[in-house]
């Protein structure tokens, strides 16, 4: 985006609905400062326009007097609009040709230009209609790939989410105040100020760890959770893969080593998108872990949100399998149950339950739809719990919080080792500088105000 455009308030126009697929309705938005009646060469209607009420209009090409389209017009006078300027929204028919013609005509007869990507939002930000955190929330809404993520983005957009930031701001402000009191007014306050100081340090720490917890789940796990299947060759990974997907993607055969490296597919469980990954099986070699397939897939497995260890019960090998447990799966799925007698299976199940304590065990019968459905719901539930603690989804906020945490640990180190307030106050200033973009600028006067309203100071 060109920053030159920040200081312009020229009229901008753009379709705000997707034009890639044919749809019934497309919306064109115009923002700037204008009188809606000025457009009546092109947009014909009868009677007055009422703000925020839809009105049926005809869009007419002034040169040919041909009606291009019938549309619904909504007028939002400033400042009560998305951008804070005067906004006009035209809901025309969804044919891209209509949209293009209307936009061309508007540009031809009025001085307006096509908005650059994000420019409406930028104007909203500039006109104080949205905070930076809200802009980022909006971005997250538009890119949400699951219902929990969407809900999370909504919270961020509606600015409710800021409570953790407010808590942080409160804690930082208080601590800064105490530092300044100790330096500038130590004659005026009693010794109890030192216990206030350590308490305030803990409050800062708590506020920072609360925020840090919200960013400690890697973003890719929240946004694009991966489910990875691993196990020995011929364990039944590809069959499970296809059953989860619901169609045949992976080449299924009984020859060991059919799947090379890995294959992946997008799939969704009740609206939440996942990436399902089938790793390479293992070829016949002496040492399991030196198998090229699993080594290639190693990073993939470690980074995945869900790790599923698939075991062929008919060729169960205790020693080999134990080595694969180092990948720390959440689920173990046993396959090929039909090759074992039901009596043996009963005994085996008991043994397996005690051996694999702490893992979720599933026993998969061939073509068992109930198993697949339950298994999917179980995975979905695990993903939903990630959102229980309001994770922060915006990359900028996440990186600022990481930096604050690092700066705070520097500060604590100095606090524990030197107790030199001159240095401490400078280190704390660095935390405040980092935090500014989350919580706003903290001015000297604000801190002094805080001091004078909380402590009795002066001669």
């Amino acid at each position: 985006m060109q920053f030159d455009s920040i200081f312009q308030n020229d009229l901008i126009i753009a379709p705000i609905t997707s034009l890639s697929n044919l749809s019934a309705v497309a919306i064109i938005r115009i923002s700037g400062f204008f009188n809606p009646n000025d457009f009546n060469v092109l947009i014909k209607f009868s009677g007055p326009i009422e703000p925020r009420h839809q009105k049926l209009v005809h869009i007419v090409d002034p040169d040919s007097s041909l009606v291009i389209d019938q549309a619904l017009l909504t007028y939002f006078p400033n400042p009560y609009s998305f951008t804070g300027e005067d906004v006009l929204e035209l809901a025309c028919h969804g044919n891209p040709l209509i949209v293009e013609t209307v936009i061309n005509l508007m540009q031809k007869f009025f001085s307006m230009r096509i908005a650059s990507p994000g420019e409406f939002t930028l104007r909203a930000f500039k006109n104080n209609k949205l905070s930076l955190n809200q802009v980022e929330g909006l971005d997250a809404i538009l890119h949400a790939s699951s219902v929990p993520m969407l809900l999370q983005s909504q919270k961020s957009f509606s600015a409710k989410f800021n409570t953790s930031f407010e808590k942080l701001l409160g804690a930082l402000k208080k601590h800064k105040m105490l530092i300044d009191i100790l330096i500038d007014f130590s004659d005026d306050v009693s010794a109890s100020i030192y216990s206030d100081f350590s308490q305030s340090l803990q409050e800062c720490e708590a506020a920072i760890s609360e925020l840090y917890e919200k960013v400690s789940i890697p973003l890719n796990i929240l946004v694009k959770p991966e489910i990875v299947l691993f196990g020995l060759p011929n364990a039944g990974k590809s069959t499970l893969f296809n059953n989860l997907l619901g169609h045949n993607r992976s080449l299924v055969s009984t020859i060991p080593g059919t799947t090379r490296d890995y294959v992946s597919e997008n799939f969704s469980i009740e609206g939440t998108s996942f990436i399902l990954i089938d790793t390479a099986g293992l070829r016949d070699s002496e040492d399991v872990l030196e198998q090229s397939g699993i080594l290639l897939a190693q990073d993939k497995i470690n980074a995945a949100f869900i790790r599923i260890f698939v075991i062929n019960l008919s060729t169960y090998d205790d020693v080999l399998l134990s080595q694969l447990l180092t990948f720390n799966p959440q689920y173990i799925v046993f396959t090929h149950l039909d090759l074992i007698s039901s009596q043996d299976l009963m005994n085996l199940k008991d043994k397996l339950h005690s051996k694999y304590k702490g893992f979720e065990l599933f026993f998969s019968e061939r073509n068992d739809h109930d198993f697949i459905r339950n298994f999917k719901l179980n995975i979905l539930e695990r993903h939903r719990t990630l959102f229980r603690d309001d994770p922060i989804l915006v990359a900028r906020q996440r990186s600022v919080i990481q930096k604050i945490r690092i700066k705070f640990s520097d500060y604590k180190f100095e606090f524990d080792h030197h107790r030199d307030l001159a240095i401490l106050s400078e280190f704390f200033k660095m935390i405040l500088l980092e935090a500014e973009s989350l919580v706003g600028v903290l001015s000297v006067d604000e801190v002094l105000n805080e001091i004078f309203s909380n402590f009795c100071i002066g001669k």
Binding site: K126, N127, I183, E426
Partner: protein, 610 residues
């Protein structure tokens, strides 16, 4: 003979400082006009010089060729290092002074200055004859009227302009108790447009020393190790006997009396409408604003060696005298105390400092400078520093030399002046160390070094100059030495440089470490040089690291603003534009420090310069 290059109106700390510095330009003819029967550079409130932030200012003043540090040492009767345990960079000096001797010494020094004329008279009116010449109409104590003429004028009238005193319901005129007052600013200086702002300050009652029982109070002795202010003096040698201060406290009984008499307080019954500083609250403010708190510190400070009065710091008041008599007696040690002079409040006219340049010259009436409490500051040190800056710049401008403007990055004086000219203030301004962005560097120990190049650009030849050169050279010498010498010659294994030994010191006193090292090796350096080097070495790494961090995070602070673009922008509110036009900030950092700039406007401007 009534023609001068510079006339200074007002003989307080600002006026005296302006006179002392401008007469160092030996070919200038300077007059200092002060009210008859009032001592020069007197201390009408607390009997101390220095404090956190203020101690730094006194040392900056001293290195720039000012008089305050010198006078404080001559009249010093108790020295203390504040923040001693909180970190070497934060240490500040406070000196209790003998209030009777301080003005006497000031007079002695000023009387000896050949190119200074001391005039005792009341200024009636200041006008301009032409672009270059001011006419100052004065009346002496015999009502004899005459006029002085001057090319530059420095106005330091303090609290005297239309000063009104309040003690209970008793209201009188005066810049302070038992003193005359000056005409209101708009009458004194009809050539200037004033905004009619009035501030208020107050002072506590004074107690008779022999009526106080000190035996049960906590004593605070003078500290022999605190460095003198004046660089020419030996670091620790005192010129007067040293005395103690004492600490006592108010209690629920004291506060009950004050709370019960709220309607008699001029501050709270509407008798005083001017604004006082929150950081300098009267005991009434404390009582009404913090209804839960009854325990307030009261420091008992002797006002002089020979005199019989004590200044009780912490109970400034304008309550009626009988109430003052009553509440004072409830305080530990003061049960039988007798008030020799009651506390009172004073209201006075102040100048809108946003109309001044960083040289303290008025933006519209050129040649006219304002300094001191009339600029809405509080504190002797703040006043003195402004007097010095106005004095230097009046002289520089007479000699067609470039102005001297101190940066806020290397001095507290610079912080104060930038704050003054870039803020509309609704209360008196006091310097706190928190106002500086650079506390790790703006320290007392390196004040002489920080001011060195500023003083050198003035090209003056006064007693301080040779001393500064010596300080600077010895500092460089010792700094070089610690960077190259091995700390412990006898030790085995790894050889440690002295500077690294200082950095790694965990005892918290790098100064002591370096002192011991030099002693072992038979090297002699002035204690102040040792201190300065040790502290610099200790903080150098931190400063470097923080500077980098700061630059990374705050790239935008130093970005230049595009004035025309801001003025043309629709995203900057009209109000904000007005403020920007008025203060003309150059960088984004300065803009951010202006009061009243809306976040939306800031964001819009930030977007433009990123």
């Amino acid at each position: 003979m009534n023609n001068f290059d510079i006339v200074i109106v007002g003989g307080g700390h600002a006026g005296v400082e302006a006179a002392y510095i401008s007469t160092q330009y030996t070919d200038l003819k300077v007059a200092l006009v002060s009210l008859p029967h009032l001592p020069l550079a007197s201390a009408p409130c607390n009997p101390s010089i220095g404090g956190v932030g203020k101690g730094q200012v006194v040392r900056e003043l001293d290195a720039l060729g000012g008089i305050m540090g010198k006078l404080a040492d001559m009249a010093g009767i108790q020295y203390r290092t504040l923040n001693e345990s909180k970190g070497e960079a934060l240490q500040s000096t406070r000196v209790q002074i003998d209030k009777e001797l301080y003005p006497e010494f000031a007079l002695q020094i000023l009387q000896k200055i050949k190119n200074l004329t001391l005039v005792q008279a009341k200024v009636q009116k200041i006008s301009k004859i032409d672009d270059e010449l001011f006419k100052i109409d004065v009346k002496n104590h015999l009502n004899y009227e005459e006029s002085l003429f001057s090319k530059k004028l420095i106005c330091t009238v303090g609290t005297f302009s239309q000063g009104i005193l309040h003690c209970g319901a008793t209201v009188s005129n005066g810049g302070r108790m038992n003193a005359d007052f000056s005409p209101k600013l708009s009458e004194l200086l009809p050539i200037v447009k004033f905004k009619n702002t009035r501030f208020k300050t107050g002072t506590p009652p004074r107690l008779q020393k022999n009526s106080i029982d000190f035996s049960k109070l906590e004593e605070q002795k003078s500290d022999d190790r605190t460095n003198n202010f004046h660089l020419l003096n030996h670091a620790h040698q005192r010129s007067l006997n040293q005395v103690s201060c004492y600490l006592t406290r108010t209690n629920s009984q004291t506060l009950k009396i004050i709370r019960d008499n709220k309607e008699k307080s001029p501050m709270y019954n509407g008798q005083i409408s001017a604004i006082g500083a929150r950081y300098c609250p009267s005991i009434e403010d404390k009582a009404y604003r913090y209804p839960e708190k009854n325990d307030h510190h009261v420091f008992l400070e002797p006002e002089s060696l020979s005199g019989a009065t004590i200044y009780p710091s912490g109970i400034s008041t304008s309550l009626p005298s009988d109430i003052q008599d009553e509440f004072v007696k409830t305080i530990d040690g003061l049960e039988a105390s007798i008030i020799s002079k009651h506390g009172y409040a004073v209201e006075y006219d102040v100048v809108d400092t946003s109309q001044l340049k960083k040289t303290l010259e008025h933006k519209e009436v050129l040649g006219l400078f304002f300094a001191g409490q009339v600029n809405g500051t509080s504190g002797y040190e703040e006043a003195a520093a402004q007097g010095l800056i106005a004095g230097i710049n009046a002289a520089q401008s007479l000699k067609c030399l470039p102005p001297l403007v101190l940066s806020r990055n290397d001095s507290f004086i610079g912080v104060m002046i930038e704050d003054l000219v870039s803020m509309d203030r609704d209360e008196p301004y006091r310097l706190f160390s928190a106002r500086s962005e650079n506390r790790l560097y703006i320290r007392e120990d390196n004040a002489a070094l920080r001011m060195y190049s500023y003083r050198k650009t003035l090209n003056l030849n006064h007693e301080i100059d040779q001393c500064l050169d010596e300080f600077y050279n010895n500092y460089q010498l010792l700094l070089g030495l610690v960077s190259e010498s091995i700390f412990d010659q006898s030790g085995e294994g790894e050889k440690l440089l002295v500077k690294d030994a200082i950095k790694q010191d965990k005892s918290g006193s790098s100064v002591f470490l370096l002192e011991q090292y030099l002693l072992r090796n038979g090297l002699y350096f002035d204690y102040r040089i040792i201190k300065s080097v040790a502290i610099e070495v200790r903080y150098a790494g931190y400063q470097e690291r923080l500077k980098k961090d700061y630059a990374r995070v705050h790239r935008i602070e130093d970005k230049k603003l595009h004035f025309d673009k801001i003025m043309a922008s629709d995203n900057v509110s009209f109000e904000c534009k007005q403020r920007i036009k008025k203060f003309l900030p150059e960088t984004f950092g300065q803009l951010k420090r202006l009061a009243g700039i809306r976040p939306a406007s800031l964001a819009a401007i930030a977007g433009d310069i990123l």
